[in-house]
Symmetry: C2
Subunit: 246 residues, 2 copies
């Protein structure tokens, strides 16, 4: 591991890159201990604070973890799916909000991906997945639920559907698409009629999954996408009209 002396970037960034490359290339393997901060500062000819900044960068990406104490140090971290999920959700959410991605674009992406899970979900769903979906449907039908709670339950329903596909890679990739929609969905005010319609569509999807009916699941998702798109369109139209009068 060595640095490029011609680079103008921060030393801590260069060091972080060097170590990251070593991890990616397999020179450093999972659970292996990195040299101590003092040793690293010797190796790279920089001070300990600089090394520490580099290590914090890597820790922020869950590439390493640190332990204090006599046998402590920095260790290459095995990135778990759980950690990767939450990182992905944060990034996706910010990506959408900061780049003013339209409701339509996000919706299209989300349902395109979700329909990709449909055949697998219909084939592999277990009783647990079905129970989770039914539980969320039940919750969504309860009166007095806030719009935010309704959206959160909607997300939980869809996550259960995705997880039913039984492919952790798929679940990981979709976590971002599904969860990042939530802030956009939260802009919508759901009437009782809207909710009833969505609950009915969720029910139809759950039925199709239970019967291992892949085309039916796809159709249900299509219908739900249409319904949601119309809701979003209405909200945007009303907002535009209001902005015009003001």
């Amino acid at each position: 591991m060595q640095l490029d002396p011609s680079s103008t970037a921060d030393l801590s960034a260069q060091i972080a890159t060097a170590i990251r490359d070593a991890i990616i290339s397999g020179q450093l393997i999972v659970d292996q201990r990195l040299p101590s901060e003092a040793e690293l500062s010797d190796t790279f000819n920089v001070s300990r604070p600089t090394v520490r900044e580099a290590l914090k960068r890597l820790a922020a990406q869950s590439l390493i973890r640190t332990q204090r104490g006599a046998t402590g140090g920095a260790f290459v971290n095995r990135i778990s799916f759980e950690e990767a999920y939450s990182q992905q959700i944060t990034t996706s959410t910010l990506l959408l909000s900061m780049n003013a991605v339209s409701f339509e674009t996000a919706l299209e992406a989300r349902y395109a991906l979700e329909r990709a899970c449909a055949p697998l979900a219909a084939t592999r769903r277990t009783a647990d997945h079905l129970a989770a979906m039914r539980a969320e449907i039940h919750r969504q039908g309860q009166p007095g639920l806030t719009d935010e709670a309704f959206c959160a339950s909607d997300v939980a329903f869809h996550r259960a559907l995705v997880d039913a596909a039984g492919n952790p890679v798929l679940s990981y990739q979709l976590a971002g698409a599904v969860e990042a929609m939530q802030p956009l969905m939260n802009m919508i005010t759901f009437t009782a009629r809207d909710r009833a319609q969505i609950v009915a569509l969720h029910g139809a999807i759950a039925d199709a999954v239970e019967q291992q009916d892949a085309p039916g699941t796809r159709k249900g998702l299509h219908a739900l996408e249409e319904e949601t798109r119309n809701l979003g369109r209405d909200v945007l139209a009303k907002r535009a009209a209001r902005d015009k009068t003001n």
Copy 2:
């Protein structure tokens, strides 16, 4: 922004979380300047190195950028799709390699997602996308190409297909699934016959996309998935046999 005194976590981690929350919640908006390091260390009652470690954590996630000089400082960064792509690819690649995800699982996820793009790609593809796909197909047919270069070109072909869907959110989500497969694909040795078959399938897919034939595109991807799965299975079987004799 305040810290929880009861927390046992690193101060720099707590500070990073506090600032991150402020960004996510919208208290800090894009391009807004954070207080200087000296001011932050006053606010949080910590030293400047500790503040700096916190800022480096945020910088590692592209949440902030820093500028030196008189009007410099840390600014809330607008996460671009480009940055998010590369982060996602790194995370996905490590996730797969560190968790020993099987070739079959990754392959299934990748093609399920890619087929989700097929209808959109067939509808919206531009001349540029078609040209990119054709160029990669041509490259794949050239003799003397290393297996690695062949895989890289394969990835480029699939990225062009995904981008043809014209949905940046979709492209972002799929970047991980497509690129993370490359290390797994690199384990395969492609015979001339294998390559010819793959090139033919790529050609069929490009034709279907050109003719805006969505079902044809899906079928082509299905065939390609089958072909790739068989190749992977062969490699694994041979490897298992070899390991047995040794």
